[in-house]
Every structure is written in C-alpha cells, then in structure tokens.
Amino acid sequence: MTSLFSIVLAAILGLLAVASAIGFILQRRATEPGSVATVQNLNARIRSWWIMVAVFGGAILLGETSTVILFAFLSFMALREFWTLTPSRRGDHLALFLSFFVVLPIHYVLLGTEWYGLFSIFIPVYAFLILPAVATLTGDVNEFLARSARVQWGLMLTVYSISHAPALLMLETGTPPALLLVYLVVVVQLSDVFQYVWGKLLGKHRFSPNISPSKTIEGLVGGGASAILAGTLLYRLTPFSPLQAAAISTVIVVAGFFGGFVLSAIKRDLNAKDWGYVIEGHGGVLDRLDSITFAAPLFFHIVRYWFTT
C-alpha cells in the first residue's frame, strides 16, 4: 500500500503546488475589488488544502487507529457545528450531552474494535430510541417531534454517516483498505474542487439559487464528469475493474452532490452561510465533509456487499 499511496500523495502535492502557483499569479494580476476577494478566497482555500492533506495523509500513514481517531475528532467538530446553529431547548440538554460524550465515543469504539453488527445499528436503533426517552424525563413537550428529529439527524449526519469513511478500514477486499478510504476521499473532494473550478470558469446557469447560490449547471456537469474520469483512472487503488470504477465513482459523485445540497438546505433553513469557521476559506468542518456524509455510507455498502472476500 505504501508505494501506491506515496504515488497518490505525490500527485496530490503536485496538484497543490500547481494550484498555489496559479493562485500566486492570479493574486498579482487581480485588480478589481470583486476579483481580489475571489482570489483571496481561492488562496485561503488552497492554503487550507495543504493543511487538510497533511493531516489526512499523516493519519493514514500512521495507521488505522490514528485514522479512526482523526475521524472521531472530525465528527465531534461537525456535531458541534451542527448544534451551534441548530436551536435546542433546556429539555434537550441531557440528550445533547449524551450525543457528544456517550454516543459518539461508543460508536467510534465499535468502529475501532470492528464490531460491525453493533456499529451498524447502535445510532439508528438504540440512540434513536434512548435519546427521546431521556428527553421525556424533563417533561418539556414543546415541539417534541421536531426536537427529537434534530437530535437524531445531528448524530446520523455528523457521526454515523461520516464514520462510514473510516469504516472502510475494516473491509477485507484483497487491496489495502486504507487505499479505499483514500479513493473515496479523493473522488469526493476532487468532485467538489472541479465543480468549483468549472463553475468559476464557465458557470452561467444557476442550479438552485434558493439552496446553493454558487452551484451552476456547468459546474455540476463539468465537475462531476471530471471527477468520474479521475475516479476511473484511479481504479488501481481499488479492487474494481475500470468499468466498475467508473460506475462507482458516478455513485460517489451523485451522492456527494446531494450530500452538499441537503446540508446547504439545512444551512439555509437555519439562516446560516457556513457551518463554522475553523477551515479558512471553506467555513467549517461540516462544509468540507458535507459530500462525504452521503457518499461514504453508499460507497461502504457497495464495497462491502460486492467486493469483500
């Protein structure tokens, strides 16, 4: 795995170096206030990409435990961003406390110890029943259904869904499982990056101004197609044939798109532009992982069902 992984890492670092160089040139050329702001945001994004690649690449190199811990931390940050924007009442306090400090850690321990049976039902079944049960103890019935739904959605999106990315590490497919995780993350993130680039270069027709004002049809089509092409070319990282890789990258790209879209819809509902502030140029952790929330479980189940030995 190390040799293949080093090639991928070198390619990503090369891409980033090219991006940084382009950003540097654009920065010297930009004069109008509008384009200066765009270029500044672009360069902030590129700087953050260096850090994200270093953190993610470092965790993969260090091994499975550190990768699981990294994702547990990302889930924690994402859940916190979710609850910072989402309203809650005094009656939810204990349920929220349990989400952060009991459900999240137990879920990741189940992942770390590869207890797949309980891992797959712990949040959707047990947290789903226990948390509203706990919330009834305070006697606050105000908006009870909506509040219970929010508690469950917070966990499903930020903990359960995201954890399916590191869960790939427990799959035996004949290829090193870390490469499957790298494959998923690279395809999803390339799809986002290509959509951004295509949208900035050619974007004219807004896809859905209500939900995501910056998404254009040109960006979606161009970005999606580029990411599917990249996913197909990277088939050597996976147990897939090139044709299978093309089909699976299509699933990843479409799911990733809807992940970003659904999380944008939630943001609009909560009157926010970004989920958080920790990643310069990108917003919050959840702004960066929104596509993963939908793509990871699908990819995990496809691989688990058809490709495990």
Partner: protein, 206 residues
Amino acid sequence: MIALIRRLLVLFVRILVGARSEWRGCTPDSSRRIYFANHNSHVDTVAVMAALPWPVRRLTHPIAARDYWGTSAFRRFIAEKCLRAVLIDRKPAPDSNPLEPLERLLEEGRSILIFPEGTRSATDEIAPFRSGIYRLACRFPDVDLVPIHLDNLQRILPKGSMLIVPITCTARFGKPLRVEPGEEKAEFLTRARAAVIELADGGHAA
C-alpha cells in the same frame, strides 16, 4: 507551573466551547477597560478570558462572587490562581465598600471583567443591571466600558446542570461607552444593558 495550568485551561475551554471572539465595536487593546457581559453560566468568565488575546488577558481580572467561587479550595484555585479573579461579597457588610478591590485594580492600570446582572439568569433574558457598574463608570470617567455578549452559554451549561455540552460560544465585543455628564443611574444602566442586547444578533445570515 501556574502559567502552564492557565494555558491548559484556556486550551481546554477553546476545545470545549470554541471561545471565539468577534470584535465589532472596538479592537483588542491592553489599555485599562471595564468589560461587562451577560451572565448565563459558570463557563462565562472562562469563555471571555479565553476569547481575549493573551496580552489583554494578562492584564484583565474577572470579578467573581465569593459565595460561590470561594467555597472550596479547588474553586478558589481556578478563580484566583488560574483566572486572576478577584472575589467579592455579593452581600457586603453595610458600612464597607465592596467595589474597593476593583477600584484598586483600575487605579493600577489593570482591566476588569464584571457581570452586572449580579447573578446567572435562568433564561436567555438579560436581567436588569445592578448599580455597581454605574458607580465604577462615575468613579473612572476616562475608562472605556466595553459591552460583551456571550451567546449559547445557556445551552452549553444551563443553570442547575453540571453537564457541559460543547456548543461553540462567541464573545462579541461592542462599542465602548462611558457615562455622560449628568447621566442618571437608571438611564445609564438601561443604556449599558441595551449595548449588550444589541450584540445578541449573531449575524449568521448572509
């Protein structure tokens, strides 16, 4: 050793509740100031202190109630040693001046952090301000009073709970105010409270 514990405490609070700062009406400055904030939870003091940049934090002393923070060795350690807090009596003896330690700090050129509601409120409402802040403003007319609004603390650690939920807290620093010539106590207290309430809007929407 204490310095290390202090830094760990700030780091811990940053990880737990973010403790971001948003400077709206002024910039961080180490000149002496009276910071005043709304009061919802025990985390408030630490959250503001963690939100202040180190050079300012170093010179700022929060004011804490002796009847809570002075009751055990651990609380006293956190308050007095880690946060450089000054403990005062909420129900002082009739002929004493409870503000005296605060005045002494300001005279030395240090900044203080007070919670003019006097006690933690159980709701999101900001209670009417007590008069101490007016007396300080009159006694130090050339010192800026900086309003701070802390959001989400009601949800992070509500009154009556010991469980911290790690939602992000932002400390918003507003435009400094001073007591105007001839301004009455009630008028000033209303104005100061309004300055905090005005900062409550998160400005998330874009």
